[in-house]
């Protein structure tokens, strides 16, 4: 509770207004013939009113709070960002360089860079994971996996 709530509820408030406008444009229809925007508009109304309530409540509260350790403070985010970027890169490169290579690279990255293990160990584990998961998914479960410009 507290300051983080102001930010989050403020964000949601804006979001719900946006949705309300968008769903209005999608045509609400009327009570008897609901249009595409009907439910989303209603949900946006609910959303917005609750967000407003939380927003107001948290505004009133913050003035009374001193030095509360809000959850906004524990944001040690370097590892989180690294993992996320790795995941996005994996997805971007998957079709270009293929499943096995991508898998190998991301595992090595995780173990070497994020978890700071030794390079040799990372490469070994990366190889095992890449080949193992290829066998598991592609051979055993026959799931189609993207192939890069190499054979696999």
């Amino acid at each position: 509770m507290g300051r983080s709530d102001i930010y989050s509820s403020g964000f949601w408030l804006v979001f719900s207004i946006y949705i309300a406008v968008e769903s209005y444009r999608l045509d609400l229809g009327n009570w008897h013939e609901p249009g595409p925007g009907y439910f989303a508009f209603g949900a946006a109304l609910l959303f917005g009113s609750m967000a407003l309530a939380v927003f107001v409540k948290s505004l009133k509260q913050t003035s009374a709070l001193k030095g509360e350790i809000g959850s906004a403070e524990r944001f040690r985010w370097q590892h989180v960002v690294m993992v996320l970027i790795a995941m996005v890169l994996y997805t971007l490169l998957l079709n270009t360089i293929g499943f096995v290579l991508c898998t190998f690279l991301i595992v090595v990255f995780f173990i070497k860079v994020v978890a700071l293990q030794r390079l040799m160990k990372s490469i070994m584990v990366g190889l095992c994971m890449a080949i193992g998961s290829y066998l598991l998914f592609s051979f055993f479960l026959k799931a189609p996996l993207p192939r890069g410009f190499f054979l696999f």
Binding site: G98, V100, L101, M120, I123, P144, L151
Partner: protein, 329 residues
């Protein structure tokens, strides 16, 4: 510690890393310009596994693989009513190794509804067909197609008929019926056809228009009654169900058509290979039996130009219908 040794170690690591990459990355790639096909072909089915199109294709592609002597790998790419998969193939290299096996509705009715969804695709062959049937509950007052038409004339909107939705090609038969007779039937969209069948059975809607496979068990068991079917001749399994043509509506003939397509610019050798292969496989009685088990009849038609014209004629026909019904402007 020996500094030189450190640098040496680093170099060794570097080399082994690169070698690892090479081992992983380089499989032997043969892009030889040999005979088609010389490697695995990816056949994209733009619907989910276990769906009607998927089962149809899977029931005989194994035999095609045997004839072609290269694996034909079926890949499901569902989404957007078939457009996701169609896109994937339309944008792929026209080398004959990425093909599409789809129900024709996305290419005809889909385009009529939304011209922007047209894709540059080359028809190779029509392979199989499944008719569409209108059914009612056996104990209801709708025992023939005429009953339905008369009831709808007396009370516009008083008869309800479910379908998988306006964008599905099975809806077309209902729309064509309304256009031909001038009646108004209340349309209830129920995306899942099995949910539609239960809704009909439970008496919440009066009729259901959809592919034969959804309702055939119930018709055979006597719970549902087939009122009319869209095939040119009466179905072997349902000799008592008249065709729309018999009842005076030869234009109500939209079936589920399974067609194989490729991207624009396919080399003629690819098309010819498939025409020949499919011709051989689909003529076999065991393949016909396999297709029959998943409710499809063999309907083998070739001729890229002819098919292309057929589809574009259908698009024109459906566009007129859609405008008349006010679905598009």
């Amino acid at each position: 510690m020996n500094i030189d040794g450190g640098a040496e170690m680093k170099r060794k690591f570097g080399v082994s890393f690169v070698i690892t990459l090479m081992v992983l990355g380089l499989g032997s790639v043969s892009y030889s310009q040999g005979k088609y096909p010389d490697r695995q072909i990816q056949l994209i089915v733009p619907y989910g596994p276990g769906g009607s199109t998927d089962l149809c294709v899977r029931s005989f592609m194994g035999e095609v693989t045997k004839v072609l002597k290269q694996p034909v790998s079926i890949i499901n790419r569902p989404g957007a009513g078939g457009l996701t998969g169609a896109d994937a193939v339309a944008n792929s290299k026209p080398d004959g190794y990425t093909l599409l096996a789809t129900s024709a509705g996305v290419l005809t009715w889909g385009v009529a509804l939304d011209p922007k969804s047209a894709r540059e695709l080359n028809p190779i062959a029509i392979m199989a067909v499944q008719p569409v049937m209108i059914t009612s509950r056996t104990e209801s007052e709708y025992k023939t197609l005429e009953d339905v038409i008369n009831a709808a004339k007396k009370k516009p909107g008083g008869v309800s008929c479910g379908s998988s939705g306006i964008q599905s090609e099975t809806y077309l038969d209902l729309a064509l019926l309304e256009a031909a007779t001038g009646v108004h039937i209340k349309h209830v969209p129920i995306a899942s056809s099995s949910e539609g069948a239960t809704t009909l059975l439970g008496g919440h809607i009066d009729l259901w228009v959809g592919s034969v496979s959804t309702t055939q068990n119930l018709v055979k068991a006597g719970r549902l009654r087939g009122l009319a079917v869209s095939s040119p001749k009466r179905m072997r399994d349902f000799p008592d169900v008249p065709t729309f043509a018999e009842r005076g509506f030869p234009h109500i003939n939209v079936n589920l058509i399974i067609v194989m397509m490729g991207p624009k610019g396919l080399p003629p050798v690819v098309i010819k290979t498939w025409e020949d292969t499919l011709g051989v496989v689909l003529a076999r009685p065991d393949v016909a039996a396999a297709l029959d088990k998943v409710n499809y009849d063999v309907d083998f038609q070739t001729g890229s130009e002819r098919l292309r014209k057929y589809f574009s004629d259908e698009i024109k026909r459906f566009s007129i219908l859609a405008k008349e019904k006010g679905i598009i402007k």
